[in-house]
Symmetry: D2
Subunit: 141 residues, 4 copies
């Protein structure tokens, strides 16, 4: 099942454990990843570093893509572009990735990242990413 | 001195300490950041996660920009786009950022990331980023 | 009125006349531009060139931003990123831009481009763009 | 010969004729395209529209990629990101594209666009683009 594959692969992304990120939801073509704030991952003004935001957004995109791939395929991020829209501060950060164009070789995805503050969500970043479907290299995640 | 300011701000980016990144070189408009491989920061195939590569590339861009800013200005990443060109594996990763268009409000930067393998460098990622010059908010880094 | 300003500025974009593009809709923070297919604007396989798609998407983003700016401000595209999702062929192309993050200095926008084929719309491209609010240079569009 | 293929394909891009663009140079992995200023292609302030700059930059990237592809392959732009660095005004515009990462399926390219003013070149835009190698669809350009 695609969701199981995504969960198994996510568990192998050691960076996710390191930053405290968890896989919240996996549907065909859609994945949600969340993480708590962490002072050890901040930039100079005390907010989460843009690269860490990109880390969860990229994984959300990649796993949204993997969820639609054949069982013997692996996912590879070719490129992504992210805009930072507001300070990355809050009680929790939520990256939601989805496939906007599935394909046999290429899947195009986008993601939003929201910060939860006082219980409500604020959009802090967007991403568009291009993911490659890699087959025949003996990897399948 | 601009280099001192950059060094002081870099020291405040706690994520840099967490991932083991060091500021190798600061010149006007050019900054080099390096980091070692780290199994705790890998994706599912054992390579450095693309978001971590983006983390050092974004800081290299941001500090290249800050090095050209007035003393009372702070730097803010508005957006970046990164292409992953090769597997992020090696003995060491080196991000070199430079300002390609300085400006009063906006600075456009690019960065390369190389992996050192067996002593030679391989280009593994590129970034283009747009940095904002923030003044009058009581921050200066 | 913001819509009038956008219409007046659009009328000055001579490239829009040249490619046959028309301003279909202006709301605060949202602009729609349409154009017909045109063999004179095609790439080697007979589809609309990606740069022409980017032309209408960029103007849709820019004018969405301008619609939210003060009367004495002008809009400047700093950067955009576009993904081509499907062949640009159809009876008509529709670019819809909207502001996803308004700001005093920077506005972040996204756009979709659809091709109309047999009366139904197909998503063929997406764009994310960063627009600058330019004041004090004697231009206001 | 790769250069002949690129020249033949460029000649089929009708938009290039329409905007007056010419193929100035083709080397393996590197292509230069130039165009004159043209009031019919301007934005509201009288400068060349960013989308037209993107048009020549994208073709320069695409043909740089095609120059390295097998004879039976065609090139497709998946995505590009462009930064506008200065006003697009001058006596002539020159887009130089090159492959920074060749590949069997994907080629990553970058491009610069310079404006020639009073005989000297000024960098006005950069692009990074991802090109796909398309085989088996009966097209070869």
């Amino acid at each position: 099942m695609a969701a199981d594959r995504v969960r198994a692969s996510f568990a192998k992304q050691r960076v996710m454990t390191t930053i405290g990120a968890t896989l919240e939801r996996v549907e065909p073509g859609e994945v949600t990843i969340a993480m708590p704030p962490n002072p050890a991952l901040t930039q100079q003004h005390g907010y989460l570093h843009a690269g860490i935001i990109a880390t969860i957004a990229d994984s959300a995109c990649g796993y949204a893509a993997l969820s639609l791939m054949p069982d013997d395929a692996a996912v590879l991020s070719i490129e992504f572009k992210t805009n930072m829209l507001a300070r990355a501060e809050g009680e929790r950060f939520i990256a939601r990735g989805r496939v906007i164009k599935p394909g046999r070789t290429i899947m195009v995805c986008d993601a939003t990242v929201h910060a939860v503050r006082d219980g409500s969500e604020k959009l802090i970043a967007t991403m568009t990413g291009t993911m490659m479907v890699v087959q025949g290299r003996g990897i399948s995640d």
